[in-house]
Symmetry: C2
Subunit: 256 residues, 2 copies
């Protein structure tokens, strides 16, 4: 059935949404059928793909609590082979509501289990926390893809994330693997990026993708046009890096 | 008693921790007695001030749930007049634990009420979410200081934050005011920063501080040395901007 990847990192602003949008766009461009599931109450993945939040009646909140089936909440984007389940505004209350639910970490897994396998890949854009929303994503996913900003504070949080993933693997989801780490906002003008990159490759080895996403202003301009940077400016360094990342992710998938 | 300011924004990576650390350092430098309360499970404010998290027995978690008094958890930093209540690792579970508590939004307010007023200012570094930890900070604070990254996606989340603050003001804390918005990571090389800055000043007027924090690599290097950028490199544009911000914040305080 579908291969489910959680794009997660509790550190804020490291490029989770940007990676979820552009990696999925590049995978759709080579004919994979891809779904983005926007599990962040900020709804940035929906915005970045031009979906107006106020027009959404059923979104990721309704699917999570079981009011809507996965398929009834799927919305097509303007990009062929790419669909999204957008974040509805009720999602910001979901974390508190779920706490009392039975088997609260499995809500998303239950919702995905009912769906027929229409997609090759489902990418879940997670909020910047290790709360119940992210735990639900890690319980249903087979892999975690970790965007890591090339900054010192972002490096600090990595061990907390890895520990949480191991706890989820042991308690809720034995299939969970660390799919890979992608370095983001790499700035070749300063030493800090090179130091962080060396540190991470030394410690995590092959788990770190060769593709590195450079800091590139076109990437941050694209969301204001409601389009992935791959459509906004295909030839910019940011887009090219996401194309290489997609190729590397797909190649590793075929090796499995 | 103490003036309590919550440094909050649910968008991740916008400069909440960096602003809490450097604004409080600049205020301490002019003789104000300042406390940083690290309410983010990532504990970046503690790291940025050189506090080793593994040495912490009682921190913000213990104060929040009432196991320790505020004063017993205060730790002096190497900076005169600046202290911190560091984030202990249990804080990541606090959000789920608090849900069942009575009057769960008032836990921090109860903890602060018992303390004797030793500080002129208490700055609370909030996590990137509008969950129970941030709600506790907004319920005890008199003002919210909002760091706003000069990026399109960061602008998107501002209305959600303002709505939440109004809800907290009505339900939990009638004293709560929007203290001010500070523009961060302003990059004069690209249009996006100028566009976001114009938009925000047009909509929020005087609430936006005149001081603007530029994107400056020294700022992101400082945490790896466990020191605020004001100590790491006082003459860099980032430090100078935080000195101007502190002067502006204190001037407005005196006007109240
Ligand atoms: N390679 C890049 N170059 C320049 N800007 C980037 C790049 N990647 C992301 N950005 C910008 O940095 C900001 C943070 O990225 P993004 O919102 O994708 O991170 P996030 O991890 O999803 O944040 P959050 O933790 O709030 O969910 C956004 O404004 C985005 O446009
Ligand atoms: N003015 C600046 N210039 C350059 N880098 C900056 C600046 N301000 C902050 N940074 C860097 O950007 C990253 C995000 O900043 P910071 O961690 O303070 O944001 P935050 O809002 O506290 O993040 P979170 O949402 O994860 O709590 C950090 O690596 C920090 O060092
Ligand atoms: Mg995001
Ligand atoms: Mg922070």
């Amino acid at each position: 059935c579908s291969r489910i990847i959680a794009v997660a990192n509790q550190k804020g602003g490291v490029g989770k949404t940007t990676t979820a949008i552009n990696l999925s766009t590049a995978m759709a461009a080579v004919g994979r059928e891809v779904l983005i599931f926007d599990l962040d109450p900020q709804g940035n993945a929906s915005t970045g793909l031009g979906i107006e939040r106020k027009n959404i009646s059923a979104g990721s909140y309704e699917v999570l609590i079981g009011d809507e089936s996965l398929h009834s909440a799927v919305v097509k984007t303007e990009i062929p082979h790419l669909s999204i389940v957008p974040a509805s505004s009720d999602l910001s209350g979901a974390e508190l509501e779920l706490v009392g639910a039975k088997r609260r970490e499995y809500c998303l897994k239950r919702a995905f289990a009912e769906s027929k396998c229409k997609f090759d890949y489902i990418l879940i854009d997670c909020p910047p926390a290790l709360g119940l929303l992210t735990l639900n994503a890690l319980t249903v996913a087979q892999g975690i893809l970790v965007p890591l900003q090339c900054e010192y504070l972002a490096l600090e949080g990595l061990s907390q994330l890895v520990k949480t993933a191991e706890r989820v693997k042991k308690t809720f989801n034995p299939n969970l693997k660390l799919q890979g780490i992608v370095l983001t906002m790499f700035d070749s003008r300063n030493n800090l990026s090179a130091l962080v990159s060396e540190d991470v490759r030394e410690y995590f080895g092959r788990t770190v993708y060769k593709a590195v996403i450079p800091r590139n202003v076109k990437v941050s301009e694209a969301p204001s046009h409601g389009r992935p940077v791959l459509l906004y400016d295909f030839n910019c360094p940011g887009s090219q890096a996401y194309v290489h990342l997609a190729a590397e992710v797909l190649r590793r998938e075929e090796e499995l």
